[in-house]
Amino acid sequence: MTEHLLQVTDLEVEFSTYGGDVKAVRGVSFHVDPGETLAIVGESGCGKSVTVQSLMGIIPMPPGRITGGSALLRGKEILGLPPRQANRFRGVEVGMIFQDPMTSLNPTMTIGDQISETLMVHRNVSYREASRRAVELLERTRIPEAKNRARQYPFEFSGGMLQRAMIAQSLACSPSILIADEPTTALDVTIQSQILELMSELKRAENMSIILITHDLAVVARMADRVAVMYAGQIVESGTVDEIFYESAHPYTLGLKDAMPSNREQRDKNLMPILGSPPDLFDPPKGCSYYARCPFAMQVCKPKMPPRFTFDSDHSHYARCWLQHDDAPHEERLFQQGKRDVD
């Protein structure tokens, strides 16, 4: 196996609550290669944000704690780093932007100063040099009149502009990976379009990798090279964006797609909601976590956790679903390798 830029293996994260422990992330593995965009898709509470937050070392501990797994960045372990090293690695190696930029920017400092501060801390440059570079960064994120804007405070920026400023700040030290946690969820369609375009452009220019956390399949379709679909703290299906969209091998992926209205058909197909709610990870099911909502549920799904069934030689497309077992019945709408040949 070749070495990946980032290799996360069997990550497990728990949170203590009043009733007991909530297993927010249950054995998540994925990797990121240079210059690619990995989208982690899932509903709120599926553990996608917790996953990247634990990589960045920013989950609150307690109540959170990482109970297992490893994360290697260029072969170096980044989980459980002491705070000083974690600080160095945050921002320099990995940049992060959030859904709500307002809460992650200091309201009492100008935008320019906040970006220069990052540069001064990590790159050890003078204030003048840092300020100059800050304006450059703002220009690169297409903020008009960057010089004047750098002297403004966060509250003077609109949501879209703030997100640009956040991107500028996270780019300050040319990170190799940009983690974007729901970067456009709070934005309007037109602004979302602008931000997504900016991110793709920067990715191409810098050969940067992006981990995109989102619940919006449309954003995934637009941005991602590879996709990991998360459900109830596990990755239930992973593959290239085409595999996920056109060869969906897990009923949950299929369900997500069916739940969204399509724009191209004049005559409407019915929306097919996924019934019920995700399981409470306070007491996760023993078998498949999607069992209770799955239209294809089988006897084996309830007591037995499905293993990962992979479809290609490099193991890039896999699904955690018993339907991928050789003995499982054929389902018309689901991608089941081998089954097609049989029929």
Binding site: V189, L256, A259, M260, P261, I274
Partner: protein
């Protein structure tokens, strides 16, 4: 025609000489058993319009009719009670729209309780029936809202509005705070209710695809005024107003092949502030086909077919 407004306007005073033009002369008509979609970016005034229509906000000027009967200019508590069986509202935030100190029974049964015509046991039965009807477990009646997920809470909010069987419901972004899989549950529930109860709805949202899917007619709002309106599919697949066109172009789709072929041409700039809007087209600053007269002359609604209207000088 169930609902009709003419030049409905809501301004908020913002201190000396400043006025926020949240809603500026909106005229719509909604037929019985029809879903009217209202789309727009945040800050376009679409929620304010919904709240002004139901009387939660007092309108600045303009008229509104319900079944031909003029709605009062300022709603008193008695007016609200009188119209409670006619107009209800479903709110955006499933967290702040349910009182955290009340059990689900009290939340859903509130409408019946206020009307005071039902016994405790009757309310209980009705609530149990409605819990089942919105797909929840009737045994969870004595639980508190915070114990439910967002989608479940939204369904509780729907049950609260529906239990008194109104004719017209304003859905104020009922799905934008929900997950994709749960959005479909709520949408299907609303569709079912529309069919089974003959409901009429004003469906406010910013998700174009969803509005197109849900509604019969669609109106696009920009900075407090309507840019375009007409049957949903027509507006969506054949947009006329430059804003609608750009909005639909920017709307991403869950299909990588289409997305890869999409030319990246995002709309320029951002929605401007609705404070002290002067004459001229509101979209002029961002419009790719802006003309000189757009900056000085406010465009009127122009009918381009029996059912469609566009507020743009291009169609003069």
């Amino acid at each position: 025609m169930l609902i009709k407004t003419r030049n409905l306007t809501k301004h908020f005073p913002m201190g000396i000489g400043q006025t926020l033009h949240a809603v500026d002369g909106i005229s719509i008509e909604i037929d019985e058993n029809e879903i009217m979609g209202l789309v727009g970016e945040s800050g376009s005034g679409k929620s304010t319009f919904g709240k002004t229509l139901t009387g939660l906000l007092q309108r600045t000027s303009g008229d509104a009719w319900f079944r031909g009967e003029a709605l009062p200019h300022k709603f008193t508590a008695e007016d609200h009670l009188k119209y409670s069986r006619e107009m209800q509202m479903i709110f955006q935030d499933p967290y702040s729209s349910l009182n955290p100190r009340m059990t689900v029974l009290d939340v859903i049964g509130e409408g019946l309780f206020i009307q005071g015509r039902h016994t405790r046991a009757q309310i209980r039965d009705q609530v149990a029936m409605w819990l089942e009807r919105v797909g929840l477990n009737a045994d969870h009646m004595s639980r508190y809202p915070h114990e439910f997920s967002g989608g479940q809470r939204q369904r509780i909010g729907i049950a609260r509005a529906m239990i008194i069987e109104p004719k017209f419901v304003v859905c104020d972004e009922p799905i934008s705070a929900l997950d994709v899989s749960v959005q479909a549950q709520v949408i299907n529930l609303l569709n079912d209710l529309k069919q089974s109860m003959g409901l009429t709805m004003l469906f406010i949202a910013h998700d174009l695809s969803m509005v197109r899917y849900v509604s019969d007619k669609m109106s696009v709002m920009y900075l407090g005024a309507l840019a375009e309106s007409g049957p949903s599919n027509e507006v969506f697949f054949d947009p006329q107003h430059p804003y609608t066109r750009l909005l639909i172009e920017a709307n991403p789709e869950p299909d990588p092949r289409i997305e890869r072929g999409r030319p990246f041409a995002p709309i320029r700039g951002e929605i401007t502030s609705p404070v002290n809007i002067g004459a001229g087209c509101r979209f002029a600053d961002r419009c790719p086909s802006v003309m000189d007269r757009c900056r000085t002359e406010t465009p009127a609604d122009i009918s381009i077919s029996d059912t469609r209207k566009v507020a743009c000088h291009l169609f003069d």
